[in-house]
Amino acid sequence: MEILYILIPLSIILIGIAIRVFIWAVKNDQFEDLDGPAHRILYDDDDDMIPPEARRPGTRDTDGDDPNSERDR
């Protein structure tokens, strides 16, 4: 159990680092918008990043189902 004499101080140092990182993140506005990321993930706006050979032909046109049905909800 003597290993705890090293592990516990070590864990305290790690918490210290974690808290420092957290404070840095808050100060850099990372927690400014708490709702946005949940919505942003839903948009397929990474078309440009897909390499041409991996792209399915006509992806952008065919995945558009009828917008009217979408609106009627």
């Binding site: 705890l4 305290i12 927690f31 400014e32 918008d33 946005g36 919505h39 839903l42 917008p67 979408e70």
Partner: protein, 829 residues
């Protein structure tokens, strides 16, 4: 396949009669209600952003077509003196500003604006905050100007205006960041402290190795120190303030438990003793901090919602340059007495003054509550905050900035707020008894044990402090309020203060403003009488074509035309003439239309108090339109419901017209009064309170502000001026009063849950106290009891969020129909 019968593809408004407006969007022929919608839709598709139409969850607002005036408004922001106030130059030479974006209805709108702006050359970054709907924009001034960027947002049908975050907002932001850090530290520390407490409490590390126990205790102490000194500091601050003012709130027992537990545990670590309670201290701080943070976020959001304070008084003014026939854009705050300013139609008057040139109708509803614009000619006084609706005006400034009437109302507001009657909050009443009881019990325990066994006295007193730790008690109110608040927010009623719901259950008298509260606050078409060969639909469509070029409130009643009239001419206070399909038409007062077309007036209008507008063309008289500021669709039903529940209903209006009486007779009111100044309204509320009534005020405009502040409880309507929603105790989020009835149902239930919670937690504290005083409570049992009682309280509070209050089933339906109602659709009624 197309849907000609359905609404506009872009904004979902009904399609107007007449020639169809179509375009190919996403591979299909789509129909639009106006050219504005089609233009926006084409912009979206041309940039490959048509995904917007699949992602959006609510219909988009109908965009305003971009004309010369919009362009001019945007270009105004390219002015250097103005930019000096609004724009910051960053270190790398780029410019940055914050924008307030109006018209965002869902997350898809934000996505659309961000993508659209990113495609402009020179835009470095654009980020819109989903909670506050504010944008942070960084761009290179060499490639694109601020005016062009604002115009780009207009192209999508949204309106953006730059602003500098004001003092309140900056403060709120700093507080919020600090609160997140406080909770974060408390959360991480609680987990670590619990990990260290587990072996201590269940004897895994004890018995054999005394040094190991000390290691665990010292480590826990180290971890708990930042929590107590930083995370729990606000509780200590509040407690000290309470003690000084002699009104103990929940903060006093909370601080007593946190700091008492911490100091005593530290003492035990150094001097030796039975138990340490560092993990309880951390956990307690974390839970309470989280509750406070959620409350603060609700308040912040309510403050930001709606129009901003800066919109009440315009930030820019067009000042005449002496000796030249042109204007320069200046910040409204820099105006001084004697300046001449130009106020174009649609703009807000920047300062109090006198008209020197031009005549126009001014919309003064924000200040007086009158629903019709008032005609003003040279020599008449004008007030800051009123809106010019017809012709350009030149105003000589007499009072600007802090001396205007708006500012005077603000000062009255501050005074009224200080003298506001208050409802006692359960938690605070309990707290004052609780503090006394805990202190008494601790002192008694210590005294008695000093007699019996002085060596254990300290440890047992500490156990008493922890056992009576008011964790469940201090969660009793906030959890119930948070659950009720989030349930009410879904229904469209947003409480902005912690005490709102409790005060709400005490209210027995409801006072309403008229314009904008019981009524829509804008003119709508109440009826059409055809006088010629054309049917009413054709007449309305002609009228909307003619009125398209006007921003008078009358014009808005006719909706957006498919094809605006050509060569329009405005006659201030009289009407408009123009050509539709090559034919000459006139719309306006009966005398005006008769004079312009040279025809005899028709039979006189029925004197029902509504505003009558006439339309005539080459065929002779065509129609009479009755215009009125109509009651909100749910005013009558909501008021009847409230009346049936026994509330005393009062209407206080600033309006001088006979509309007050008509509305008063039509609604189930107990009392009503018109032509009241803000001061008189406040006086009326005070008289009601003196008669023993507990008053809630519902209003929207600037003229209601002092009353809102002076009432025991105040509710601001959606779209109220920002100051109103900032100072109000609650804000109605939708168009309509129904959510208020729900809130009045919810409030007593919330109060009941709070009482149950308080009773439950007091029962726990009461039953464990004697055991702790006798020295019989094992520390793990104390920790378990504390957690269990808290869980029970939280679960009980969650019952509030689960059930739907009455009167909500038809709310969505009513809200929908209210929003979409087209003037033509209401004619049959």
């Amino acid at each position: 396949m197309t849907h000609p019968s359905a609404g506009c593809f872009h904004c979902d408004e009904p399609l107007p009669p007449g020639p169809e407006i179509t375009a190919r969007v996403a591979g299909e022929q789509r129909h639009f209600c106006c050219y504005g919608c089609r233009a926006v839709s084409e912009t979206i598709v041309n940039e490959g952003l048509e995904q917007f139409y699949q992602q959006r969850s609510t219909p988009t607002i109908t965009p305003q077509a971009i004309d010369e005036k919009v362009r001019r408004d945007c270009e105004l922001f390219d002015d250097e003196t103005l930019q000096a106030q609004l724009v910051n130059r960053r270190e790398d030479g780029t410019l940055e500003t914050w924008l307030m974006v109006e018209g965002i209805t869902c997350a898809a709108c934000i996505w659309l604006i961000e993508r659209h702006l990113e495609k402009r050359p020179g835009v470095q970054s654009i980020a819109i905050n989903h909670s506050t709907q504010r944008a942070h924009l960084v761009w290179e001034s060499s490639q694109i100007s601020l005016g062009e960027l604002l115009l780009a947002i207009r192209e999508l049908g949204f309106t953006a205006s730059p602003f500098q975050p004001n003092e309140w907002e900056a403060q709120m932001k700093r507080d919020q960041k600090r609160a997140i850090i406080r909770i974060g530290i408390a959360g991480v520390a609680s987990m670590q402290a619990m990990m260290l407490a587990y072996p201590l409490q269940f004897g895994l590390a004890s018995g054999t190795d005394e040094a190991m126990i000390q290691l665990f205790r010292w480590a826990s102490w180290l971890i708990a120190t930042p929590v107590v000194l930083y995370s729990a500091f606000p509780f200590l601050q509040a407690a000290l303030r309470d003690v000084r003012s002699g009104h103990p709130t929940m903060d006093v027992p909370v601080s007593l438990a946190i700091y008492g537990g911490y100091i005593a545990s530290a003492w035990v670590t150094v001097q030796g003793g039975e138990e340490v309670y560092f993990e309880s201290v951390c956990m307690f701080t974390f839970f309470l901090g989280l509750g406070r943070f959620l409350e603060m976020r609700g308040r912040y959001r309510a403050g930001i919602a709606g129009v901003s304070l800066i919109n009440a008084v315009p930030r820019t003014a067009r000042r005449r340059i002496v000796g030249e026939d042109r204007e320069e854009a200046v910040p409204a705050a820099s105006l001084s007495a004697g300046d001449q300013v130009l106020v174009l139609p649609g703009e807000t008057v920047p300062a109090d003054g006198t008209i020197t040139e031009g005549q126009s109708a001014l919309d003064e509803s924000m200040l007086t509550g009158e629903y019709l614009p008032v005609n003003r000619v040279p020599g008449d006084p004008v007030s800051a905050g009123t809106v010019n609706t017809e012709g350009p005006l030149v105003v000589r400034v007499e009072r600007a900035g802090g001396d205007t009437r708006v500012s005077a109302i603000m000062r009255l507001l501050d005074r009224a707020q200080q003298e506001k009657p208050r409802t006692a909050v359960i938690a605070d009443r309990v707290a004052s008894y609780f503090v006394g009881a805990v202190l008494l019990a601790s002192v008694a325990t210590f005294g008695v044990w000093m007699q019996i066994d002085p060596s254990r006295a300290f440890a047992i007193t500490l156990a008493v402090l922890v056992a009576t730790c008011p964790c469940a008690l201090s969660l009793a109110t906030p959890t119930a309020l948070t659950a009720a608040t989030s349930a009410l927010q879904r229904l469209g009623f947003l409480p902005t203060r912690g005490t709102t719901l409790e005060s709400l259950s005490a209210v027995d008298t409801l006072v309403f403003d008229k314009t904008g509260t019981l009524t829509d606050g804008r003119l709508t078409l109440a009826g059409v009488t055809t006088l010629g060969p054309l049917d009413s639909e054709a007449c309305v469509s002609l009228a909307s074509a003619l009125e398209h070029h006007s921003i008078h409130p009358v014009a808005r009643a006719f909706g957006t035309p498919a094809h605006p009239a050509s060569s329009p001419r405005h006659y201030t206070g009289e009407g408009i003439t123009g050509e539709v399909a090559g034919q000459f038409y006139a719309i306006g007062t009966v005398d005006f239309v008769g004079r312009v077309l040279g025809i005899e007036p028709p039979d006189s209008a029925p004197g029902d108090g509504t505003l009558s507008i006439y339309l005539a063309g080459p065929e002779g008289w065509l129609a009479r339109f009755a215009l009125d500021d109509q009651l909100r669709p749910d005013s009558v039903s909501t008021l009847e419901l409230l009346k049936a529940r026994g509330y005393h209903l009062v209407m206080l209006s600033g309006d001088r017209s006979d509309q007050v009486e008509r509305v008063g007779r039509h609604l189930p009111l107990d009392e009503w009064q018109g032509a009241l100044s803000p001061e008189a309204k406040l006086e009326a509320i005070r008289r009601l309170e003196e008669r023993g009534h507990r008053v809630m005020m519902v209003g929207d405009g600037l003229n209601d502000l002092p009353v809102l502040a002076g009432a025991r409880l105040s509710v601001a309507m959606a779209g109220s001026s920002d100051i109103a929603s900032l100072r109000a105790d609650a804000v109605l989020l939708g168009e309509g009063l129904t959510p208020m009835a729900d809130a009045l149902t919810m409030a007593p239930r919330t109060r009941r849950i709070i009482r149950q919670n308080v009773t439950l937690s007091l029962m726990y504290n009461g039953s464990i106290l004697p055991l702790a005083m006798a020295g019989l409570v094992a520390p793990w049992a104390a920790a378990l009891g504390m957690s269990l009682s808290s869980v029970v309280v939280v679960m009980n509070a969650l019952r509030l969020g689960g059930t739907e209050p009455t009167g909500t089933s038809d709310l969505a339906e009513r809200g929908e129909s209210g929003r979409k109602e087209h003037p033509v659709a209401s004619l049959s009624g």
